[in-house]
């Protein structure tokens, strides 16, 4: 039973078709790397899953519930409930600059889940330790490095206890020497069997951590399957050409 099921998803901006009938299934505990050239629609696909983009046709099912069924969306209240199972980490971190690191972690559980504060505090301490930022809990985002910011962003997403984590090019805005610390956190999440969907240009990470890879080009899924198999024995010329460019 797939935890995410997409069928015939279509999305266009005016005349431009960005997603041309995407279908895919993602199972629980999968770590899926979505790869492909810029402009292939990877980010749009990811953003559609959590309702940051409205799609024009097709269906998206999360945990067996329809977010969109044949192009028509669920009611706002249902959308909120369905997307609450997912967390998202952005390329540019998008931390709240007016809140401290702990403030960033604690605001959503406080406002959206209305959990008791002691429970929230305990979880935020635990997660900050997990991403190695316990000493930074009272710092403001402006005083953190890019790698630290992204680790805070991951912890912030985990505070809502999602079943699925979506990553939109989590290391693309980082200096190369800072990508390692973020990928390390993601690897640990993979070990803990977190279901993750990662749009990435980090081929090394995709190869090492992903259980499944999806290669997109020009708004279509060209090929998908076991990550190692896709990297080592790509079936299509477009995949071969892309991997050749990216892996060298």
């Amino acid at each position: 039973m797939p935890i995410i099921s997409v069928s015939n998803l279509k999305k266009s901006y005016g005349e431009l078709d960005v997603l041309k009938g995407i279908s895919l299934d993602i199972n629980k505990n999968d770590v899926v790397a979505i790869i492909g050239p810029s402009g292939s629609g990877k980010s749009t696909l990811l953003r559609s899953l959590i309702h940051l983009e409205e799609i024009d046709g097709g269906s998206i099912q999360i945990n067996d519930e329809y977010l969109v069924e044949q192009g028509s969306y669920a009611k706002p209240q249902e959308i909120r409930q369905i997307t609450s199972k997912m967390g998202m980490v952005f390329q540019h971190f998008d931390l709240f600059p007016h809140l401290t690191v702990s403030g960033n972690l604690e605001i959503a559980p406080k406002l959206a889940k209305k959990e008791p504060m002691d429970k929230i505090k305990a979880r935020s301490e635990e997660l900050l330790e997990k991403v190695g930022l316990t000493n930074w809990k009272n710092a403001y985002p402006a005083n953190l490095s890019g790698g630290q910011k992204q680790r805070v962003a991951i912890a912030r997403a985990l505070m809502m206890e999602p079943e699925i984590l979506l990553f939109d090019e989590p290391t693309s805005a980082l200096d190369p020497e800072l990508t390692g610390e973020v990928l390390e956190v993601m690897k640990n999440l993979a070990k803990e069997k977190m279901t993750m969907v990662v749009v990435t240009h980090e081929m090394g990470f995709a190869l090492e951590v992903a259980t499944k890879a999806i290669f997109m080009d020009n708004g279509e899924v060209v090929e998908s399957g076991n990550a190692k198999a896709l990297f080592e024995y790509p079936q299509f010329d477009r995949t071969k050409a892309f991997l050749k460019r990216s892996l060298k």
Binding site: I50, H51, L52, R80, T83, S84, M86, G87, M88, F90, H92, D94, L95, F96, P97, H98, I107, A108, L111, A112, K113, Y140, P141, A142, N143, R156, A157, M160
Partner: protein
């Protein structure tokens, strides 16, 4: 020039300054929230509301404050039919004029603040499950205030000085008493005293806003 003379001048001028300060406080306290509501109206999806508030801001910024004050104090009572019900106390009428005018300027300042907030902030609050209201009040507005603070400080200092326009609608305030003394005693000393009182008021205000800026630095 004796110190006794200066003290005798100070008494009415400081009383005048009280009117100035009272007007300033009422105008700030009312025009900032009103300005923010205007910003929301400008950004509203309800087209009529957006057009109306655009028009309002255009008129308020596009005509002299002095004209607006004269209109409210002397123009409204002349409207046939309803005029007799629109005779307001001068101070109340002038305060109303200041609030309506300054709200338009604050609205533009806040709009600028909102524009400079990255769309990632809205998206991050949304995927974390916050409602639109929660994200507006807890994420967007605090950042907007920080961005708008220097411009709000500037506008507030202008407001202190604009209170001198009360002179034109014959509400006795600081400048009025200075001018009276100048005419009566044929000395320019009252002007200097008035200038010093204005400088003290704007200094206090500048220091207050510097303090706020430090407090909301988020570093």
């Amino acid at each position: 020039m004796s110190s006794e003379y200066i003290i005798s001048l100070l008494k009415p001028m400081l009383e005048g300054a009280q009117t100035t300060i009272l007007l300033f406080i009422i105008a700030i306290v009312l025009s900032i929230p009103l300005g923010f509501l205007l910003t929301l109206a400008v950004n509203s999806k309800v087209k009529v509301l957006s057009y109306l508030s655009h028009g309002y801001i255009y008129v308020m910024r596009g005509t002299p404050l002095l004209l607006q004050l004269l209109f409210i104090c002397f123009g409204l009572p002349m409207i046939p039919g309803v005029g007799e019900y629109l005779v307001l106390d001068r101070f109340v009428a002038a305060t109303l004029g200041f609030v309506l005018n300054y709200a338009a300027y604050f609205a533009e300042i806040f709009r600028g603040g909102l524009l400079s907030i990255d769309k990632g902030q809205y998206e991050a609050s949304k995927v974390l499950g916050m409602t639109k209201w929660q994200s507006l009040t807890r994420i967007i507005i605090p950042q907007m205030i920080r961005i708008a603070l220097p411009a709000v400080a500037n506008e507030s200092i202008t407001l202190v000085k604009d209170t001198a326009l009360l002179y034109a609608v014959a509400v006795p305030e600081l400048l009025h008493f200075a001018q009276t003394a100048v005419n009566r005693d044929f000395t320019i000393m009252p002007f200097f005293i008035a200038a010093i009182i204005y400088l003290v008021m704007t200094l206090v205000l500048s220091l207050f806003f510097k303090y706020l800026e430090r407090k909301f630095k988020f570093e």
